[in-house]
Amino acid sequence: MMRVFAALVRRDLAIAVRVGGAGGLGLVFFLMVVTLIPFALGPDLNLLSRIGPAVLWIAGVLATLIGLDRLFQADEEDGSLDLMRLSPAPLELVVLAKCVAHWLATGLPLALASPLFGLLVALEPAALGRTALSLLIGTPALAFTGAVGAALAASIRRGGLLIAILVVPLMVPVLIFGVAAADPANAGRDQALTILLALTLASGAVAAIGAAAALRGGGQ
């Protein structure tokens, strides 16, 4: 069983490296969103540092969204999903493996690079660390929640926009507690972090069952 999990994660990462530039695409998109905000709000550093965590988290949500529509659709189109349905491993494990691979390729690089982008919005060092930590814990929840939408839209042509509409409401709690956990001024930030962790674990279970059920309905 674990062999199937490892094979799936390895394959998806190999494809991400060869085609997607190993998360480079997600990082550049993240940088673009962070760069756009000051152009709209003006270069005032005090304002930017106050909304810094929010900017990084919104960029994180959007960066996760763009990678979602190809998560299952690519495999549905070329028949790999049918192959996975014939595997002894349950579809839930297949979904988890693909979510982990998607997170390693997009969510993890975002969390690790967020201190660098935090400089663009003049975050103080304390906020840099906390934002990175909250992103590290929160981005898996984004990947899991998004996977359900991606599975539902797997067999729908041009499902990218649809997925965003389906999953963004589900991501609201993660965004709220993520930004709360990142803001050093917020007194309740440690509870927010633990709730965020709880959200990640819960969304993992929900995604495994939900996305597998959505995929089970698919096929020719």
């Binding site: 085609v19 480079g24 550049v28 673009m32 760069t35 000051p38 003006g42 270069p43 005032d44």
Partner: protein
Amino acid sequence: MLTRLANPGFFMRVSGLALAPLAAAAALLFALGLYLAFFASPADYQQGETVRIMYIHVPAAWLALFFYSIMAVSALGTLVWRHPLADVSQRAAAPIGAAFTLVCLVTGSLWGKPMWGTYWVWDARLTSVLVLFLMYCGVLALWRAVDDPGRAARAVAVLTLVGAVNIPIVKYSVEWWSTLHQGPSVFRMGGPTIDPSMLRPLLVMALAFTLFGTALHLAGMRTEILRRRVRSLTLLQAERLERAAA
């Protein structure tokens, strides 16, 4: 000359000869530039020693634009003159240009810290370089997305030209944006009038950077030509398998 350069064989011979002297000249100029920068130029009355970062920050900014213009010319070569080496030159120039844009951003940020107290201020020129970096990333991302080299060459050429047309527009709007909110930026990067003793190291370093960049570009083009040959031979291999199996 341009047409004779068209056939890769001739280019490989010429670039092979030019590579070593170019690299040697670049190394020599670097040494001279570093000496001038650290020993033969005064500290700035206002910024003190940190002005020495200018000697790599400004040439890096210059190279970032220099390589984007090489890409723009190559794009014209691909779309208008159909020059076979145009796409090779463009594909070799992009990563080098992106790397120097990054150097410019990082050195600008390190230069800004002692003066502004933070690593990043949305200064008009630094912000324009950041937008240029995003455009470089766009070009590199488009390459990875399109797998057929012929189609990729045309797509990237169009993107580069559209980008090149937009650079002055972006530059103007970012300048306007930064003056709109902050008033004319208090500190001009490197001051409008650089006194001659600082100008000399700056020019030497700029020349050294340019030669170094050109050498990298030629080397990159040579490798790119080899990569295409490897690709076509691999395709040939697949066909030979087809015939062998039939």
